[in-house]
C-alpha cells in the first residue's frame, strides 16, 4: 500500500480549454508576466482531429521521484508527506538546473527575482481544507485533486499521447482522453 500522494486528475473529456485554471493561478500568485505555473496545452491535430478543441491543463506533476528535488544543488525542494513538491525560494540560488532538467517544464525562471518558482498545489489552501485555486476555478470539474494511494480507476491514463512518458519520475497526474463528436459536414 503506497503512501499518500496527491495528484492532479486531468479530464480532457470534460475540459473545455477555458483557461480559467491557468488565470486563477495568476490571480492567486501574481507571477511575472510570461511566467506560467499552469499552462493549458492544446492537442495537435494528429492526436485530436480538430484544431485547438482538446487540451491538457498541466502544472507541476509533483512526481514520486522529482528531478527538480534530485538535481537542485542547494536542496531548495522538499516533498511533503502528502506528496506535494514544494520549492523554497529563500534557499534557491537561481542556478536554473531544475528549469533545465524538468521534462514537464514545471519550474519556471523568474527573471526579476533571478530565482526559480513553480506550482505549489496551493498547499497552504490544502492545509486549510480548501481546493487549489485552479481546481476551484474549473467550471466542469475537469481538474481534480486525487490521492493516488486510494485512487483506482481502470480508465484513467498515466501517459496519454502528447504527454511525455517518464516512468523513473512517475509524475503524479492521471488523464482521461477527449471524445470526438459525430460530425455531419454539409455537402456543397
Amino acid at each position: 500500500m503506497m503512501s499518500k500522494q496527491l495528484a492532479f486528475y486531468v479530464d480532457s473529456q470534460k475540459c473545455i480549454g477555458c483557461f480559467s485554471c491557468a488565470m486563477a493561478c495568476k490571480n492567486m500568485y501574481h507571477p511575472e508576466p510570461g511566467v506560467k505555473w499552469r499552462q493549458v496545452y492544446p492537442l495537435s491535430e494528429d492526436i485530436y482531429p480538430h484544431h485547438e478543441r482538446a487540451f491538457y491543463s498541466l502544472a507541476c506533476n509533483h512526481c514520486e521521484h522529482p528531478t527538480c528535488l534530485e538535481c537542485c544543488p542547494v536542496g531548495a525542494y522538499t516533498k511533503r508527506e502528502d506528496g506535494i513538491v514544494v520549492h523554497d525560494q529563500d534557499k534557491c540560488i537561481g542556478c536554473g538546473n531544475c528549469v533545465r532538467s524538468c521534462p514537464y517544464g514545471a519550474p519556471q525562471y523568474n527573471p526579476k527575482l533571478k530565482k526559480a518558482e513553480k506550482c505549489s498545489m496551493c498547499w497552504e489552501r490544502i492545509d486549510a481544507k480548501l481546493e487549489p485555486a485552479c481546481v476551484q476555478a474549473c467550471p466542469v470539474k475537469a481538474l481534480r485533486i486525487i490521492d493516488l494511494s486510494e485512487f483506482d480507476d481502470a480508465e484513467a491514463l498515466h501517459y496519454p499521447p502528447g504527454f511525455p512518458r517518464f516512468e523513473s519520475l512517475n509524475p503524479s497526474v492521471r488523464f482521461k482522453l477527449p471524445r470526438h463528436p459525430h460530425v455531419v459536414r454539409r455537402n456543397g
Binding site: 480559467s20 501574481h30 478543441r53 477527449p178 454539409r186
Partner: protein
C-alpha cells in the same frame, strides 16, 4: 536586488519607533519642512495591519455575459489581492472565468485612465491633464451653448451601452440626459433584438427555464450558441444531462469548442437555420409526432402552420438549403420529437442575420409543436428579463426641465393637438448612417460604458462621423480606440471601487457588489459624474438640469430596490444580500401554467403582431441576403475577452498573444496561404491585416476573426463589417432592428 530586503519586516516600522520618529520630526523642525510639501501628518491609527488576514467583500461581475458571476473579493490593507467565485451561487459554484480571474490585474493595470484629460486637436495624442472642475465646466458650457444656439438639445447625443451592466449604470447617465432635456439617444441593441421580438411574437414575452434545469433535459440542441466559451458555468448542467443519458447536439456553421463536447455536430450553411428547423418540423409532422394535444390546448394557428409546412417545406428542400443531408435532418427531427423532455438553447449568433428573427420563430415553433414548451427540462431557451424589475432610479422618476423643446415624431403627432416632444432615438446598429442623415446635426456626443470604434460596424464611416463632432466625451477605464478620438476623457471606476447590484439575463441569481477599495487616481463612478454635471449645470444656469445634484453610488444602488425585487427574491431589504447572492423564488419552468402574454393568451404560431410589424404571421422561411464578396466573415466572441474588454491586459496576452483569422485548408490552398502568413481581409468597406491560422473548424466559404481590442494593435474587425440589420427588433426596441453582424462578407489575400 542582491541584498536581503529587511525593510518590510524590520522593527523600524513598528509603533515604538513610530513614536520616536514623530518626536524627532517635531524636534527636527519638520513642520517647516512639511510646509509646501506633499506628505501630511497622519493621525495615529494603530499599528500597521499585518499582511495575510484579508477581508472578503461581495462583488459581482459587471460584464454583459450570461453568467454574471457572484464574486468574493479579498482585500488587505486597502488593496485587492485576489478574487473568487461565490460558492453560495449554485450556478457558478465558486468559479469565475479566465476574464474574471484577471480582475486584480485590470484594477491595478498601469494602463488605466487616471485623470480627466483634454486632447488638443482630435486624434493628435496631445493630452493635457485637467481638473474634474475644468472638465465638467467645459462640458456644461458646451451643452449650454448648444441649447442657446439651437433652442433645443437634440444636438447633444448619448451612447450608453452594455460595458457595465450594473443596475445603477443602467440608469444614471440616461437619468442625467433626461434631466438636461430632450436629447438624441443611440438606442436599440447590438445583441439580441431579432430573436427577442421573435419570442415576443410567439410567447408574448421572453422567459427561459432556469439554466440549472438543463440537467433535466432528455435531449438538448445547442443552436448557434457556444457556451463552452460564452457561458462556461452552464456547461456543467449540460454535462449533468448527458450523464443522465441525454443526447446533446450542436448546430453551428463553425466547429466550436461546444461542438467538440457534444454527441453530434451539424454544420449548416450560414443563415439557413430557419430552413433546418422547418425541415425538421415537416418531418415530425409526417411521422405524426406533433403533440396535437398540447397544441390544441395552448396554441393559436397550428393548422395554418401545418398547412404552410405541407405546401412549402420538404426535408429534401431543407437539405438543399442547409447542406445537411436529408437523412440527418430526418433522424435528428425524429430523435428530438421522441425524446421527452427536449429543449433548444437558441444562441444570439443565429439571429444576427437578415432572416434571424424568422429563424428563431421557426425554432420556437419546433419546440412548441413537440409539446416541449412549459416543461421541466424543455423549452425554447433564449433569455429572460423578469429578474430585472428594478426602479432604474432616478431615470424612471424624472422628466426634462419645464419648457424643453425636443423631437416631434410625425407618426405619433396628431394634427391640432399640442405638440408632444420626445428624445430623438437613433439605431446604434447603424450609428454612422444615422449620424450622417441626422437633422438637426449631432454636435456633441457622450460615450459611456461603450467602445463604438471597436463594436459598431463600418468603422471607417464611424470615424468620419466622430471626427465631425464639436465635442466627444468618453468615460472609460482604459484608453480605447474610441477614447483616441475624444476631446475629453473621464476616468471611471471598476466595480471594486463602487457599489452596484447585478442580475443576469440567463440565470435567476441576484448579487450585490460592495465597494471594497477606494477609487484609484481620480476615477469616479458614473453616479458621481452625473451628479457633478447636474450641479454645475444648475450653477451656470439654474433649473437647466432636473437630475439629482448629490447622489452617492451606494444610495443610488439602494434606491433601485423595490417590492417586486424583494418579493421575487425573498429578501426584506438590500442588506440581506450582504450575506450572499440569492436566487429568484420562481418556478424554474417558464410557461408552466400555459398562460402566454400574446394577444390571444396562447402560443402563437400565427402572430397578428408579427404581421402588424410587416413580417409574415407564420414563421415562414426567407433566405438571407446574397454575398457581396467572396467569403462569409464571422466575428464572434473570443473566450479571452468580452467584446473589447480584457484582451488588452498583459495577463491575458500570456495566453492569447495576438489576433488571427481562421481559414479552411482548401480556401487557404487556393490563396496559397499557410498558417502564420500575414493576410489582408478586405472588402469595399475596409480591411484588416492579421495573421492566418489554417483549420477546418471553419467551412470552406468562411473566414473567422474574433472581435477584440488588443493593446497597441490596430486590429479591428469592424473595418470590414457593414451596417446591415436583421429582419426583427423594431417591435420591442423602439423601431430599431437588430444587427446582422454574423452575415458579413469579405475577401482575403496574402500580404
Amino acid at each position: 536586488m542582491e541584498k536581503e530586503r529587511k525593510l518590510m519586516n524590520s522593527s523600524l516600522l513598528n509603533e515604538m519607533s513610530r513614536r520616536s520618529f514623530v518626536k524627532l520630526l517635531t524636534a527636527g523642525g519638520a513642520a517647516a519642512m512639511l510646509h509646501g510639501g506633499l506628505l501630511t501628518p497622519k493621525a495615529f491609527a494603530g499599528p500597521a495591519k499585518t499582511a495575510g488576514g484579508c477581508k472578503a467583500f461581495h462583488s459581482a461581475c459587471q460584464r454583459n455575459c450570461y453568467d454574471t458571476c457572484a464574486m468574493l473579493s479579498y482585500v488587505d490593507d486597502g488593496v485587492l489581492k485576489y478574487v473568487e467565485g461565490d460558492k453560495q451561487s449554485t450556478f457558478t459554484n465558486g468559479g469565475l472565468c479566465v476574464k474574471g480571474y484577471s480582475y486584480p490585474r485590470r484594477v491595478y493595470s498601469p494602463d488605466r485612465i487616471k485623470y480627466p484629460m483634454k486632447q488638443i486637436g482630435r486624434g493628435t495624442g496631445n493630452w493635457k491633464r485637467i481638473s474634474w472642475e475644468e472638465a465638467i465646466d467645459s462640458i456644461c458650457d458646451k451643452i449650454l451653448s448648444i441649447k442657446k444656439e439651437d433652442g433645443h438639445l437634440l444636438g447633444l447625443a448619448l451612447d450608453k451601452n452594455s460595458g457595465s451592466e450594473g443596475i445603477t449604470n443602467c440608469a444614471v447617465i440616461q437619468g442625467l440626459f433626461t434631466g438636461l432635456g430632450y436629447t438624441t439617444r443611440f438606442e436599440g441593441s447590438n445583441c439580441w433584438p431579432a430573436g427577442y421580438d421573435a419570442q415576443y411574437f410567439d410567447f408574448g414575452d421572453m422567459v427561459c427555464n432556469d439554466p440549472e434545469d438543463l440537467a433535466n433535459a432528455g435531449y438538448i440542441i445547442l443552436w448557434g450558441v457556444n457556451p463552452a466559451w460564452t457561458s462556461i458555468h452552464t456547461m456543467k448542467f449540460i454535462y449533468a444531462a448527458k450523464e443522465r443519458g441525454a443526447k446533446v447536439v450542436c448546430i453551428d456553421p463553425v466547429l466550436t469548442q461546444t461542438a467538440a463536447k457534444c454527441d453530434e455536430y451539424l454544420a449548416p450553411k450560414m443563415g439557413t437555420d430557419g430552413a433546418l428547423a422547418l425541415g425538421m418540423a415537416r418531418h415530425i409532422l409526417d411521422l405524426g409526432l406533433a403533440d396535437r394535444g398540447w397544441v390544441a390546448d395552448n396554441a393559436l394557428g397550428f393548422p395554418e402552420f401545418e398547412q404552410y409546412l405541407r405546401e412549402k417545406v420538404t426535408v429534401q428542400w431543407a437539405a438543399e438549403e442547409t447542406g445537411i443531408p436529408a437523412e440527418t435532418i430526418a433522424r435528428i427531427a425524429e430523435e428530438f420529437a421522441k425524446a421527452k423532455p427536449a429543449t433548444v438553447w437558441i444562441g444570439y449568433g443565429l439571429q444576427r442575420h437578415t432572416n434571424g428573427g424568422r429563424a428563431v420563430r421557426s425554432i420556437d415553433a419546433l419546440v412548441a409543436m413537440t409539446g416541449n414548451v412549459g416543461k421541466k427540462g424543455g423549452g425554447a431557451r433564449y433569455g429572460q428579463e423578469f429578474t430585472w424589475d428594478f426602479e432604474y432610479w432616478p431615470k424612471s422618476k424624472m422628466s426634462p426641465p419645464a419648457g424643453s423643446i425636443g423631437f416631434v415624431n410625425p407618426a405619433k403627432q396628431k394634427p391640432g393637438e399640442p405638440t408632444v416632444y420626445s428624445n430623438r432615438s437613433l439605431n446604434r446598429n447603424q450609428a454612422a448612417r444615422e449620424m450622417r442623415k441626422a437633422d438637426p446635426k449631432i454636435r456633441m456626443l457622450w460615450v459611456s460604458c461603450s467602445n463604438p470604434m471597436s463594436q459598431y460596424p463600418n468603422r471607417n464611416e464611424m470615424e468620419k462621423m466622430y471626427r465631425g463632432l464639436d465635442m466627444l466625451v468618453v468615460v472609460d477605464q482604459f484608453f480605447t480606440q474610441t477614447a483616441e478620438l475624444a476631446d475629453i476623457v473621464l476616468p471611471t471606476t471598476t466595480q471594486f471601487e463602487e457599489w452596484q447590484v447585478n442580475v443576469s439575463y440567463w440565470h435567476y441569481w441576484l448579487a450585490i457588489n460592495e465597494q471594497c477599495i477606494e477609487p484609484l487616481f481620480e476615477a469616479k463612478p458614473n453616479t458621481v459624474i452625473s451628479a457633478l454635471v447636474s450641479k454645475r449645470m444648475n450653477e451656470l444656469s439654474p433649473g437647466s438640469c432636473t437630475y439629482q445634484q448629490d447622489l452617492t453610488p451606494k444610495e443610488c444602488m439602494i434606491r433601485n430596490f423595490n417590492d417586486t425585487i424583494h418579493k421575487l427574491n425573498g429578501i426584506s431589504s438590500w442588506e440581506d444580500l450582504l450575506k450572499g447572492p440569492v436566487k429568484a423564488k420562481r418556478n424554474p419552468v417558464s410557461w408552466a401554467e400555459g398562460k402566454f402574454k400574446t394577444p390571444s393568451g396562447k402560443y402563437e404560431f400565427l402572430s397578428a403582431k408579427a404581421a402588424e410589424y410587416g413580417h409574415p404571421a407564420l414563421p415562414e422561411y426567407h433566405s438571407r441576403r446574397p454575398n457581396h464578396d467572396k467569403f462569409v466573415v464571422l466575428t464572434p466572441h473570443t473566450k479571452f475577452g468580452l467584446h473589447s474588454q480584457f484582451i488588452n491586459l498583459d495577463w491575458m496576452r500570456d495566453f492569447n498573444p495576438e489576433p488571427c483569422v481562421y481559414i479552411n485548408p482548401n480556401s487557404a490552398r487556393s490563396k496559397n496561404i499557410v498558417s502564420g502568413d500575414m493576410v489582408r481581409v478586405y472588402n469595399k468597406f475596409g480591411e484588416v491585416a492579421v495573421k492566418a491560422q489554417v483549420t477546418d473548424n471553419v467551412p470552406e466559404d468562411t473566414l473567422l476573426m474574433y472581435e477584440a481590442w488588443f493593446k497597441n494593435e490596430k486590429f479591428n474587425v469592424q473595418n470590414v463589417l457593414d451596417d446591415a440589420v436583421a429582419d426583427m427588433g423594431a417591435y420591442q426596441f423602439g423601431g430599431h432592428r437588430g444587427p446582422a453582424i454574423q452575415e458579413q462578407f469579405a475577401n482575403v489575400e496574402k500580404m
